[in-house]
């Protein structure tokens, strides 16, 4: 019976004594804390918690604690709690027991056994879990490569064809819209162009704003604007702005002037 540490066999004596030079390694690497150590001792030695030599074990636990205390304060604390619990159990066993109903609840021996039992269940199940087939050890996932030729990138969520189709729709609708406008409001770019020309011939020069008839609504304004642009493009009218952000004046363009001159001749 013993514990293997770094290839060396350490014997665990019945009296719980562990050679001090081995203790540090054993406590830190072999046992998962004081419960684990106690469980080990109970299993191996058929130890009875009641009959242990408390004075001796407490002395030993304290010397262990001194030894590990300098490195692992928390671990030392946990062993200290165990030593205290064991001492409490022993002291109780020496005193005559008071038989009361809630005695069992308070009994540190019952509590410790319960705790040991609970811990042992999980200590065992942890070993079982360790044996479960596990990814990377017993089970290997399969992940295949894609063929080199066709590294398909995630496609854009909008296709060019969609965009073109949308634009086609716009144009088609705009077409229908205009027919509709002609029917209902008698507005068309050409007609509007004529009206603008007529107004300018009468007044020679008008301000940009004056040429818009707000009562025609947004489409009417747009058509007026488009008509104006078309007239500018055809150099039938001129837009003049004297200063930045200043009023824009609209007058008949050079083409129209020469046309008029021709007519006059």
């Amino acid at each position: 019976m013993g514990v293997r540490v770094d290839g060396k066999e350490y014997v665990m004596p019945v009296d719980l004594y562990i050679p001090p030079h081995a203790l540090e390694v054993i406590l830190e690497t072999t046992f998962e804390g004081p419960l684990d150590l106690l469980l080990y001792l109970i299993r191996r030695h058929n130890l009875d918690i009641i009959n242990i030599n408390v004075a001796e074990i407490t002395c030993q636990y304290i010397s262990y604690i001194e030894l590990i205390g300098s490195h692992r304060f928390e671990l030392a604390g946990e062993y200290l709690v165990m030593a205290a619990t064991l001492a409490e159990i022993k002291s109780r066993s020496l005193l005559p027991r008071m038989q009361t109903l809630d005695d069992e609840e308070e009994d540190p021996r019952v509590r410790l056994i319960k705790q040991l039992r609970e811990y042992e269940r999980f200590k065992n199940i942890a070993e079982t879990v360790d044996d479960l087939p596990r990814m990377g050890r017993d089970v290997f996932s399969v992940c295949m490569d894609m063929p080199d030729i066709k590294q398909v990138r995630p496609q854009p969520s909008m296709q060019m064809s969609e965009l073109v189709a949308a634009y086609g729709e716009v144009l088609k609708r705009a077409d229908m819209y205009e027919h509709h406008m002609i029917a209902s409001e008698r507005l068309s770019t050409r007609e509007c162009m004529s009206n603008l020309m007529a107004q300018l011939q009468e007044y020679q020069q008008m301000s940009f704003d004056q040429l818009f008839d707000l009562s025609q609504g947004r489409m009417g304004i747009v058509v007026t604007f488009l008509a104006m642009m078309e007239l500018v493009k055809e150099r039938l009218i001129k837009l003049v702005q004297v200063q930045e952000y200043g009023p824009i004046h609209v007058s008949l363009g050079s083409e129209q002037d020469s046309l008029n001159q021709e007519l006059a001749q």
């Binding site: 998962e32 419960l35 596990r134 990814m135 050890r137 017993d138 399969v142």
Partner: protein, 185 residues
């Protein structure tokens, strides 16, 4: 309408780097492909039969289906790599087991069972691997975080659901006083 679903599902499952659920597989298809959950399930069962007895198999784990190398051949696969598969420390295995069987549970409760502190690095390792996650806080002083295991944990251990974990036995600790074992949910 897809006439042959099997090779499509094969391709999807083999290329994916994680298990795919039936629902996820179904999302791949458009309505007119004529693929529904039922047809996918049927085809997957068919695939499981086709590939049984080969070097790899189609298995169902918690988060879906995945192809994996058959355990019988893990011995050879392990030779492919120089490094030995990672061993988990007893502290990690115990902590993970306690969380798996007693979830949701706080760190303090784990420490009470183990009789020793649980190092932060162990908790972090398990969080990093997505084996556990915080699922809320216990209404008690300090509102400690409650931990539970994840689907990834089940996937990692080749399990479909928590109840597939080996049963937690009640081991008698010598002829001790009768103590009622803690109830497992």
């Amino acid at each position: 309408m897809i006439a042959e679903l099997a090779p499509v599902l094969e391709a999807l499952l083999l290329a994916a780097d994680k298990p795919l659920s039936v629902e996820r597989l179904c999302q791949i298809f458009d309505e007119h492909d004529g693929v529904d959950n039922k047809r996918i399930r049927k085809t997957l069962r068919h695939l499981q039969e086709i590939f049984s007895g080969r070097g790899f198999q189609l298995v169902e784990v918690a988060s879906g289906f995945r192809f994996q190398v058959h355990q019988d051949y893990a011995f050879w696969v392990a030779r492919l790599w120089q490094e030995k598969p990672q061993k988990y420390s007893r502290a990690l295995l115990e902590t993970l087991s306690i969380i798996a069987y007693q979830q949701p549970i706080t760190r303090g409760e784990i420490e009470a069972i183990r009789g020793v502190g649980v190092s932060s690095s162990i908790i972090h390792t398990m969080l990093d691997r997505c084996w556990i996650k915080g699922v809320g806080h216990k209404e008690m002083p300090g509102r400690p975080e409650l931990f539970a295991t994840t689907k990834e944990f089940l996937d990692h251990f080749n399990l479909k659901q928590l109840s597939d974990l080996p049963p937690l036995d009640d081991l008698p600790l010598r002829n001790d006083v009768a103590v009622a074992p803690a109830k497992l949910k």
